[in-house]
């Protein structure tokens, strides 16, 4: 049963990729297609970060450990979409012209935090296997707490690229705060026990 549900979640996670391929193929991306592709993957990266971060609160709320079984896959999809997001910025938007890209990374804070978040995802993706969990033991948990930093960087990346204070980045910020507050509460209740 779990196997089938995992396959189902896997296919569901491929939806953002399929929908953009469809839109490219049928020319439905509108006036600024490159921008739309980059934003699409960026937004889905953030959504998948939120889903990954929702699993342990859901475990507490529903008293079921089933949620944790999907967490690794969701986390790897975060890396997958973040990488496509980066690749579409580097390749489609800047044609692998690295000089302006390096300039942006160093000088523009929204590019900097976005790039930093992607770099921080790499160790998490590398250490995602069962074997690495065994080798790293307690350190594994410490390393994977980087996801909180990544989530904060990701939302800042979204807020800072907007022309003024926009609705959508604010919604993302509120979701992030709620998900982080769960952690604070979880820890507090743990201490009481």
């Amino acid at each position: 049963m779990l196997r089938y549900s995992k396959i189902f979640v896997f296919l569901l996670c491929l939806w953002p990729l399929c929908s953009i391929i469809y839109q490219i193929f049928y020319n439905k991306l509108g006036a600024e297609p490159v921008d739309k592709i980059i934003n699409h993957f960026g937004e889905w990266t953030l959504i998948l970060i939120f889903l990954t971060l929702s699993m342990s609160p859901l475990k507490k709320i529903t008293n079921s450990t089933i949620w944790i079984k999907y967490r690794r896959m969701l986390g790897l999809f975060v890396f997958f979409y973040a990488s496509i997001h980066l690749l579409s910025y580097v390749g489609l938007d800047y044609r692998f012209d690295f000089q302006p890209i390096v300039n942006d990374v160093l000088k523009k804070k929204f590019v900097f935090v976005g790039f930093a978040a992607w770099l921080l995802l790499i160790p998490l993706a590398i250490t995602s296997s069962n074997q690495m969990m065994r080798i790293l033991k307690n350190n594994w948990k410490k390393i994977h707490r980087l996801i909180y930093v990544i989530a904060i960087f990701g939302v800042l990346h979204f807020i800072w690229l907007s022309k003024t204070i926009f609705f959508k980045p604010l919604v993302f910020l509120v979701i992030l705060i709620i998900l982080l507050l769960f952690r604070v509460n979880l820890k507090k209740s743990d201490n009481k026990i």
Partner: protein, 297 residues
Amino acid sequence: MKISSRQITPEKIYKNRRKFIKQLGLTSSVFYFAPELFGTANASNKLTEYKYITTYNNYYEFGTGKNHPVERSQNFITDPWSVTIDGEVEKKITLSMDDMKKMFPAEERIYRLRCVEGWSMVIPWLGFPLNKLLKKANPTSKAKFVRFESILDPEQMIGQRYPILDWPYKEGLRIDEAMHPLTIMVTGLYGKELPNQNGSPIRLMVPWKYGFKSAKAIVRISFVEKMPTTSWMKASPREYGFYSNVNPNVDHPRWSQATERVIGEGIMSPRIPTLMYNGYEEEVAYLYKDMDLRKYY
């Protein structure tokens, strides 16, 4: 420099448009366009398709999405409409749209529009030089700046119900910028009436400045002594200055302004370099001679 739009417009479209404009009874047309456009192959001056010009808009009065203006502005009432010219003038005047259309025959102007967000379009506007309108009002010697105010109508404009910007939208120009022959009041595009989402019935167009300087749906123009504070300056003074001239060498604090993406060009087209004063350097550079453009951004 003036050039015929024949050089930058496919012949067939050009001819059709001439015919169309003649049918509208518009005669004198002047075409201004930055003639020299860098070596890049894709950096053509091809007109942006009508569908993109009219569906991809920044007009926060109707919402912050690019699709919001076209979706939410179709019932916006633009008739009757009048523009008041007041402030440091000998006599305050109010002109209706009909008055202005009679007084100032429309000419076609093909301009590149460069958005501060880093994209551009090439748009055939219909309009008349702002200086013709301003001269009707006889400004006093105190007048140093011109302040533009757009309509305030939260009933019809859903975006104005939220404090996205300081409503009504306010913009401003130095008096010499306002009197410059390239600065026009727009009443149409592609030989047709100006669609609501593009700022109907009357808007400003200052081609060497970032798009947000060209206020839409204007109801009031005031001559003032001191530099007016615009809505964008109020929203973020560090990011949006009074001048906001297109300048590839002065970045927005959060993103680069060195290049721009041409709207409607498909996913395989590269960015093109942004030109000083959006390509109108020859015509306008003298206005900013001896000014530190990093300070007066």
